[in-house]
Subunit: 409 residues, 2 copies
């Protein structure tokens, strides 16, 4: 069994639910177990571990100097997520570090492995929270006050996990010390390969691909208000039923996304009070919209606004982002070397910490490992062991060759 | 202040939430406070109190013989319900008993006041649970295994409230001893007055009305299955999104109810896993359908089945029910006496313990108190104090005059 397969096998039981999916929400017990694994694996590799003020985990190579090349990803999952989204990137980084150590080689640059905390936003609703706090892209006060669906505040959850929530906030010295950030990730969906008719790496017959950037992306909350009343005594004509209103909004969002060539999803719904025999007083929907450019996203939201009769509340917005050409070229070169062919390039429809760092001035790049099903954020997420091994080999070669351009600031 | 107004004022703080509604779900702390109030009020009236094997509360008049005339209702509420649905009937019964006692009069028959437990089914999903258990209309094993949305089983909730769940079950001796059951209730909705164009007691300019029966009524659960996937990477064309499917079901239910002249409501929705950035794997809807006859209800469910592509699971079914002509006539007579005009008669769209008892052979009747808004199961539920006083006067007159026909069995 290869090292990456061994590492993933060790993680397999953590946070696994009875449906075969993973519940590793930020600051949960399962998340804590994943974090303990990170610290133990780093110690075993002789790396120096550090938990930063925002709860991100770092494992630093000793003795290097100069701008730091950072490999990593995250360890948390969405509710009932897959095994690979996040952990594959962290485990691959460790496996690449180990392959150099086992060969008696040293990285060409100062190197660290990172696991950013709460990347998915699956619990508190704000994605990439660890990297956003570190780069100053989110206000610490706002972050501390985020509330999960059980009414637990982020600061309470952090405190319960042994962190000091009063310490969270921007960490410009750390950001300035990062020469480059490279994140390996399981392919998500089957998006169009640049300069090709193929959709997805499987169709392009390629084990690895290089991501060129991230689609713009927003999240909105839509509260449809109605008039609560008895289900058995209120004529249909006299009703103001917010569940009926919300149903129209869901269909309008779907139709608008199809019309605009964008992606729109309602994945979370809450109905108040939620009694079987009562017309509800309020139905709340969370709308996720993405697409190749901002214009089509804004047009989807405008159509949904017209259907809902209320203005959606923007909970997050992330503009289009292109990864650093320098790091992307370097990554494409090592992929060509380990696979023997040119690396396909493609966009990412999902947000990532790499996008947050790139937006904060850290050159970032991402390597995608072929996902035959295309499924992600669900138990069906998958990658073949030989493809993962090639990904680790590419990262290891990057460690041997890399010398980030950026001068530490 | 009249006695009924005083009694309701004493109850006003119990289980009241910050939106002005009431959360008095069965076996909750608020429900326990309501139950303590019942026992204290009964003791103050010199009545003999009893908690039966199913948790229903009884207050028996002393010294009477023969078939027992029972007045009462329930004390629990739906989530965020109104102040009157249930407690008005219990408090009116106590107020009527007190008015006789204050006048030095004795009821014409053996009399009890009852508060049936868990009438709303707002927590465990099965309405009229206390009366159904007592009459044998629900299997005790099934009842004990009911689970609320927090995963608490009914037997656990009962045990936590100090009851023995192993004792629940049919109580045929008790049912046989009941000569008649009369329930006063706030009007729900504005349903058509028999032989009139008026909809609701306010339109008929009548403070009180006599309910002739209860519409048939069913509840169904509809599980719409889909394929979980990432919201940002799955093309619209390749999606199997259960939230979109569920939205179509909600609109189909509304359209079918309008077409059939029935009532259809989706008041509870659950989406799994419920993450903002994930296409859900399952959306569950609870559908409540009622109407003047069974045929139109079954046709609504058939149309919904076609739209959903899956068969709804019937969680409960209650056929059409007519209250006892003898008790209804007796009730109409006392209403005529206290109001000076013939009592309007009208159907009930809502289920009640009176319907369960009637179906079990206990002659039952219901008295409705005018509700100007028609709103029920919501904070807007209302009745004017003079109308409630007239309702109490009608019950008091019934106590003076009544002599149930039925021979105790």
């Amino acid at each position: 069994m290869s090292r990456i397969a061994e590492l993933l096998e060790a993680l397999a039981p953590i946070g696994r639910n009875e449906r075969g999916g993973y519940d590793r929400l930020a600051w949960s017990d399962a998340d804590a177990a994943m974090r303990r694994w990170f610290l133990a694996e780093a110690a075993d590799l002789g790396l120096e571990t550090e938990v930063d003020r925002n709860g991100n985990l770092w494992a630093h190579g000793r003795g290097g100097t100069g701008p730091r090349l950072v490999l990593g990803s995250h360890l948390d999952s969405v509710p009932n997520g897959g095994a690979l989204d996040g952990p594959l990137g962290v485990a691959s980084a460790f496996a690449a570090m180990r392959s150099l150590r086992d060969a008696g080689e040293a990285p060409a640059s100062n190197v660290s492995v990172v696991a950013f905390v709460d990347e998915e936003g699956g619990r508190f609703g704000l994605a990439c929270l660890g990297s956003r706090l570190t780069t100053g892209a989110v206000d610490p006060e706002r972050a501390r006050a985020l509330v999960d669906r059980d009414g637990v505040r982020l600061d309470e959850a952090m405190r319960a996990a042994g962190l000091d929530p009063d310490a969270v906030g921007p960490d410009p010295g750390r950001v300035g010390s990062l020469g480059a950030y490279v994140e390996l990730h399981v392919e998500q969906g089957h998006l169009p390969i640049d300069g090709s008719d193929a959709a997805g790496l499987a169709a392009a017959d390629a084990p690895l691909g290089v991501l060129t950037g991230i689609w713009p992306h927003g999240r909105w909350r839509i509260d449809v208000a109605g008039h609560a009343n008895h289900a058995g005594t209120t004529p249909m004509a006299g009703r103001d039923d917010p569940v009926v209103g919300a149903a129209g909004v869901v269909l309008a969002a779907r139709d608008a996304a199809v019309a605009e060539g964008a992606l729109a999803t309602v994945g979370r719904v809450e109905v108040e009070p939620g009694a079987v025999n009562a017309i509800a007083v309020r139905a709340s929907l969370w709308l996720d919209v993405r697409g190749a450019d901002e214009g089509r996203i804004r047009r989807v939201v405008a159509r949904v606004t017209a259907a809902a009769g209320v203005a959606p509340v923007e909970e997050s917005w992330t503009g289009a982002m292109r990864f650093a050409r320098s790091e992307t070229r370097r990554l494409a070169a090592v992929v060509r070397e380990v696979t023997g062919t040119d690396a396909p390039t493609l966009p990412s429809g999902a947000g990532h910490d790499a996008g947050v760092l790139q937006a904060a001035g850290v050159p970032a790049a991402m390597l995608a490992v072929r996902n035959p099903t295309g499924i992600s954020h669900a138990p069906g997420e998958s990658a073949a062991a030989p493809d993962m091994d090639l990904g680790v080999a590419a990262l290891a070669l990057l460690l041997r060759r890399s010398s980030p351009d950026r001068v530490a600031g």
